[in-house]
Point group: C2
Chain length 244, copies 2
């Protein structure tokens, strides 16, 4: 499996977080040569794009940045400055008390629609997405029934599938894993989590650069995952977690 020319290509949606970075390694382990799709969509934590691109460079993966504007649509704490990112929620509450304001309307549908366009142009039938329905924030577009419905729609949508014989398969291998299981899987595959970025609401760090807040749902799920996996979390969290 070391000859990349013999491998089938796959598109991997890469955000630069724990899940999608593990996903990249899983796609490789499953025999694919990944091309990363990285979305700059006006997210509050635009820094994740730089992390995603650095991860792709460090692992010799081709990456394509898709520029799109979900900020003009808004409706989410991640794409509107008028909606606050929740902080310090009890771990048991995350994912159990309704869909939080960090939900971005139709985000995975928009991302997968662009992936479908790229997949068709590149002649790639396999698309990997790192959605997770267990240790997650309660987003509806992370559930198996959503992924299955998208896949079905995609195979009716395109020239490649209806005339060209290409079948689109949406791979979601993390969907029923806990964050700790994902991290242990990544560790076994040699993933370097020090390059990943999870925080929704970056603060100014001690050295002037961005630091993870340690208090948003995404930081809390990350911390819990590393703790439960028994793996050291390489993240430098802001000392106080207060905005300067």
């Amino acid at each position: 499996m070391t000859d990349s020319k013999a491998r089938r290509r796959a598109l991997v949606l890469l955000s630069g977080g724990v899940d999608s970075t593990t996903l990249l390694a899983v796609a490789r382990a499953e025999g694919f040569e990944p091309t990363a799709l990285v979305f700059r969509y006006g997210q509050r934590h635009g820094i994740e794009v730089e992390h995603a691109l650095e991860i792709a460079r460090a692992t010799s993966i081709e990456a394509r940045v898709v520029e799109l504007d979900l900020r003009s649509i808004g409706g989410s704490a991640l794409t509107s400055d008028e909606i606050a990112v929740p902080r310090d929620r009890p771990e048991a509450e995350i994912g159990a008390s309704g869909i939080p304001p960090t939900y971005v309307p139709a985000r995975n549908t928009v991302f997968l629609a662009y992936a479908l366009a790229w997949a068709e142009v590149l002649g790639i039938g396999d698309v990997y997405i790192g959605v997770n329905a267990l240790d997650y924030s309660g987003y509806p577009d992370c559930r198996p029934e959503y992924i299955e419905a998208f896949e079905r729609m995609a195979n009716l949508a395109s020239k490649a599938s209806t005339e060209g014989g290409l079948r689109f398969t949406i791979h979601a291998p993390l969907i029923s894993k806990t964050k700790a299981e994902i991290i242990r899987w990544g560790e076994a595959l040699g993933v370097d989590y020090s390059r990943t970025w999870s925080c929704y609401d970056p603060l100014e760090g001690a050295g002037g650069g961005p630091a993870a807040c340690g208090r948003c749902d995404s930081c809390l799920l990350r911390r819990k995952g590393f703790r439960e996996a028994g793996v050291a979390d390489p993240t430098s969290y802001a000392a106080s977690g207060e905005r300067k």
Copy 2:
């Protein structure tokens, strides 16, 4: 039905062509207060956006322009200068001889994904799209089974539908009509077709402005539609149809 405050809102995908301009009138006739979504996606015939906005202004419809870049993906005569727009195809061949190079990969899926995001943020459950599976170019994402699959997926995708009780309905009232039937329907509803734009491949007109080529599939279907409807086509086609 004249009190707009009593009407439910609907999103209407408006390109500025015959079908979507008729659609706008149909949505109104069906009792909705439309908001037009107009997509500037890097299309060869970007002029259609100006026509769409003029149609919205003239009919007092709120319009939102969605800016997105499908040109960087390419793979279509409409989004790549390296792929030619077919000309002078026999009418019987259009839609009957495979999917033509003017097919834009995943275009309707990308458009409907943005519409879903906007619909959710605006609290609108009804989305109108002017797809047509009869007098069309053979695009897979214009068929009823595709529209039904998208609607099903959309209702699994969003916070509004899974938690908020909003049901997304994709209305495609033109899907089984001929172009002539669409034009006659629009005539009955008072549509001013002189504002519409169909041509995929605009040429320089006599006055220096753009003129419809009269020879691409879209011009040919338009001409056929007006002819069969027994309605005068208000379009000024370029005299020679040759590029200057």
